[in-house]
Amino acid sequence: MNEWVIETRALSKRYKGRYAVSGLNLKIAKGDIYGFLGPNGAGKTTTIRMLLGLIKPSSGSVHIFGKELQKERLSILRRVGSLVEYPSYYGHLSAVDNLEAIRRILDVPVGKIAEVLDIVGLAKEARRPVKGFSLGMKQRLGIASALLGSPELLVLDEPTNGLDPSGILEIRELIKDMPRQHGITVLISSHLLSEVELTAGTVGIIRQGELVFQDTIESLHRQAQGQIRLVVSEPEQATVALMQHGFRAELKESAVWLNGGQGDDAVAGAVKRLVEREHSVYRVEERRKSLEELFLQIVGEGLRA
């Protein structure tokens, strides 16, 4: 029918008259890593719970692998691995037994347990009761559980929540390899852009239950394109002069800022005009808005995609 691994149509969830998620149209392509971003409470987890059939949508539909979730939940979930909010585990059991409890349900070969433990780097700790594990290890066990059924789609809700920087790095490396090595499509949610910036191919940004941005990470980078800052003598006159020549110049912090159309020729032209008018040009710099700033701006104001 189509090539989307996940497609939601006008997906909404209402709690007591208030929309936690409203009119969501997610589109996640095969083999992609999709970063699902938004501040806490924006509706990420609610959306993911709907994607996994844990709660029913108030309206709209979820299609996974081109099939409707409501109708074919079990056959869809067989091909999905997930980790929702925090890793779940049976503390009194060892890592192997935890995976065995899941393996029995999924009915996959016993050898798969060692394989996933190896992928997440827990092979050495496999026999210890999980209650003695660090948060990072529990998180990795959660990912191992999600991988146990050899899923084609991996849904990870805030997998780096509460981890220290090295833990975050480990998880990031782990996730990065999924599409390449195992052909898995990954949906990963986070409240921090920086966490998915380096791994995700596509990002969707949700704010107050609404999808306010959904495009490739490159497109986000483009939107974050910077301005050219010119430090010159007599900046007031320089700004006026540039505006007269049709540049979108602006005076800010006693420097001239060029907005839009900052191709090399445009910058060279602007500098030429200034030199002709005998301004001294001390510095020409590009100031990029960081992605994080742009993300905060999108999340703060909403930007129609």
């Binding site: 979930l77 779940s88 059991l93 409890a101």
Partner: protein, 250 residues
């Protein structure tokens, strides 16, 4: 469908394998054994072996069937949900390709199996006490097995209700408190001919002490009456649990 259910049950068994629940199960049978060893059967010196057995079982089942068995039912039900509540296991379980009805039955079956173990240990305690009391010849297996089995059956409605409460309530203690509050009145209810036949928590005791045409029959009701109450409450509680669990938002 069936194989899915068996896999779920196998998974449940593993979760309980290394849990403290196994220390709890023998407690009531052991206490019953102590009572069985201490009870004085001398005044029935000339009576039939069968009567002595009835006296012995009545004495031993007094606490076991009236209090411990219903309370254990609540503990087992809370226990099979405990790990799911504690570790966020519901989300993980239900995001897997499992039917909710199947999972509910797997939990229920686990509770039933734990209760069956407790009942078999109780049976063992009765036989051990009987040998100690010199009643070794002619153990009335039919009567004992009927008693133990119908006691187990009478616990199933309670298990169904407790499972519903335990699934709904993430607290481990709250369902237990409710269960104890409903079990303690047994001591009064069992003395009431009017209410006892209809009070689900009293049925394990009534069931275990229905020896048919017994002379000690103050407590004993025909087993058929017990089974009507048991079946009725079982159907209601189990249906409520299944409807609730299938709609539960996780």
């Amino acid at each position: 469908m069936m194989s899915g259910f068996l896999r779920l049950a196998a998974s449940e068994r593993l979760k309980l394998a290394k849990s403290p629940i196994w220390l709890l199960i023998p407690l009531s049978p052991l206490l019953s054994l102590v009572i069985g060893l201490l009870v004085n059967l001398d005044e029935f010196g000339q009576a039939d072996n069968a009567i002595k057995y009835e006296v012995l079982v009545s004495a031993m089942a007094a606490f076991h069937a009236m209090l411990f068995l219903p309370i254990l039912t609540g503990i087992f039900s809370a226990f099979v949900c405990r790990y799911e509540h504690a570790g966020g296991g519901w989300k993980q379980l239900l995001a897997m390709p499992v039917s909710r009805t199947g999972l509910y039955f797997a939990k229920f079956l686990t509770v039933g199996a734990l209760l069956a173990i407790a009942q078999l240990l109780f049976l063992g305690a009765v036989v051990a006490a009987a040998f100690y009391q010199g009643l070794g010849d002619g153990v009335p297996w039919g009567m004992l097995l009927t008693s133990v089995f119908s006691g187990w059956l009478a616990c199933l409605p309670l298990a169904a209700l407790q499972l519903l409460v335990s699934v709904g309530w993430s607290s481990f203690a709250a369902p237990l408190v409710i269960n104890v509050m409903l079990t303690v009145p047994n001591m009064l209810v069992l003395n009431s001919e009017r209410f006892a036949p209809f009070y689900p928590w009293a049925q394990p005791m009534l069931a275990m002490l229905s020896f048919g045409d017994s002379e000690l029959g103050r407590l004993a009701l025909p087993l058929e009456n017990v089974l009507i109450t048991v079946t009725g409450s079982f159907v209601v509680f189990l249906a409520a649990g299944l409807v609730y669990f299938n709609r539960k938002e996780v």
